[in-house]
């Protein structure tokens, strides 16, 4: 099982839940997201593009580390990991 953490705007699409437990044990961040979409489809288009790429101003963190500094969407995951989705600091 892994845990997905969301906040703010995205909780509009999770019924208000900030913590989502995924019973599956996905092998990668990409697999975890695919699993997440089956639970909360509305998160998908808001987090990734129609090409499946992470939107430019969205950050994904595995146990607190940005996947940019790991292996991107191919970053490996294991049972007990925590995946956090956050909007970046940008704009004006």
């Amino acid at each position: 099982m892994i845990t997905v953490l969301v906040s703010g705007f995205l909780t509009d699409f999770t019924g208000g839940a900030r913590t989502i437990e995924l019973d599956a044990t996905p092998a990668s961040v990409q697999d975890a997201l695919t699993c997440l979409w089956t639970r909360h489809l509305a998160l998908r288009d808001r987090v990734v593009t129609e090409r499946g790429e992470l939107r430019p101003h969205i950050g994904l963190f595995v146990n607190g580390d940005h996947i940019r500094h790991l292996h991107g969407l191919e970053t490996a995951m294991k049972a007990g990991d925590e995946l956090t989705i956050l909007p970046a600091i940008s704009g004006g």
């Binding site: 705007f9 090409r51 969205i58 909007p87 940008s90």
Partner: protein, 374 residues
């Protein structure tokens, strides 16, 4: 987040749809157009590049293009003048599988021809056209334009590579015009199946002198046309002001007496053929009103001459910018004209530009103004 104020809208009211970089606003007046009431912000924090009102089939449907650098872009509609807006589980405007593109921003939404009351068009970045034939419930990419061999050679302008203007011929659904920055003006004569670049005579100031009049690649900022005179068109270019008398096949320079032929906004008068309004800007390097005077220019003779309309507009220290969708008209008599500025001001005229009043003074930067009579 701020809770939006709402409007009670009645038949006969004039409604301004104002898109800003931080949300949408609705501004209402009765038919007298003397006093105005504002509502919003809707979609606070989102950039609303395009809005539209669809009153075909007795609808009263507002449309908004909702853009976020974080969460992507989608179309939302309201059938109760903004009290409730749709936000679907999945986004409806998407590049299909088999294309290499992903939607960056929605720049335009426009109802289709009169005899196609369930058709809408939507222009996006990267430059492409989408079409709905079920009143906006679903959208599909117009492949005839997307697959055009020119597409891979189009270059982004300062705002991105966007299809920002869609001009369906109201009397002939086969004829559709679009403008792309920087791709130029394209026309379809078969309902969107095939497209031809139509830019003869339009200059590309940013290209070397030997290639200043290319087949395509111009940075066309806006095109306009009177609905009952589809053969005569007008074009505000990135440097250049033009008229066509052959549905865009060729263009003639009509920058006769304007302080600058650079600008974005252009709109035709729905009550008078050959009457067009623009707001010139000084240059591409200094995109503000020339001589710090806020002037709308009007031609009533298809560009043979232009006159400045200034009564009620600031004529000192007015460093304003009106963007391509920031100028609009209503269909009242005399014509109402409205525009919004990047400094968040909205001005209006209820006498075809003879005099102006301030309607709003402190909105976020205005990128879109549309007007309709309910």
């Amino acid at each position: 987040m701020p809770k939006p104020q709402h409007l009670d809208v009645r038949s006969g009211d004039i409604l301004l749809l104002v898109g800003t970089m931080k949300g949408a606003f609705l501004i209402k007046s009765d038919g007298g157009r003397a006093t105005w009431t504002v509502a919003g912000p809707y979609f606070p924090g989102r950039a609303i590049y395009a809005m539209a009102f669809d009153n075909r089939r007795d609808r009263h449907r507002l449309w908004a293009a909702v853009n976020s650098p974080f969460w992507g872009s989608y179309l939302s509609s309201s059938d109760d003048f903004g009290r409730q807006w749709t936000e679907s589980e999945t986004y409806s405007v998407k590049f299909p599988e088999g294309t290499e593109s992903s939607l960056k921003q929605i720049w335009q939404i426009v109802p289709g021809a009169t005899d196609q009351p369930d058709t809408l068009f939507c222009g996006v970045e990267p430059a492409a056209l989408f079409r709905s034939d079920d009143a906006g419930a679903s959208w599909s990419l117009v492949r005839g334009l997307y697959d055009h061999p020119h597409r891979t050679k189009w270059m982004p302008g300062g705002g991105g590579l966007c299809l920002h203007t869609i001009l369906p011929d109201r009397s002939n659904a086969q004829h559709i015009h679009v403008a792309i920055s920087s791709g130029g003006h394209y026309r379809s004569d078969d309902g969107g199946a095939t497209w031809q670049a139509r830019n003869v005579g339009v200059r590309a100031e940013f290209l070397p002198p030997e290639n200043r009049f290319p087949e395509f690649g111009q940075c066309v900022h806006k095109i306009a046309c009177h609905p009952s005179q589809p053969t005569r068109m007008f074009l505000q270019n990135h440097w250049g002001l033009y008229r066509s008398d052959d549905r865009g096949d060729s263009w003639q320079d009509i920058a006769n007496g304007v302080p600058s032929d650079f600008g974005f906004a252009m709109v035709s008068d729905p009550n008078r053929q050959d009457t067009v309004y623009i707001v010139p800007l000084e240059s591409d390097e200094f995109r503000c009103t020339p001589e710090a005077r806020l002037r709308v220019y009007r031609t009533t003779n298809a560009g043979a001459s232009w006159e400045a309309l200034t009564r009620g507009l600031p004529q000192e220290q007015a460093f304003e910018t009106v963007l391509r969708d920031g100028l609009t008209t209503d269909a009242m008599t005399p014509t109402g004209i409205y525009f919004g500025t990047r400094s968040g001001k909205v001005f209006g005229s209820h006498d075809a530009g003879e005099s102006w009043t301030s309607i709003m003074e402190a909105l976020p930067p205005v990128v879109c103004v549309k007007a309709t009579r309910v």
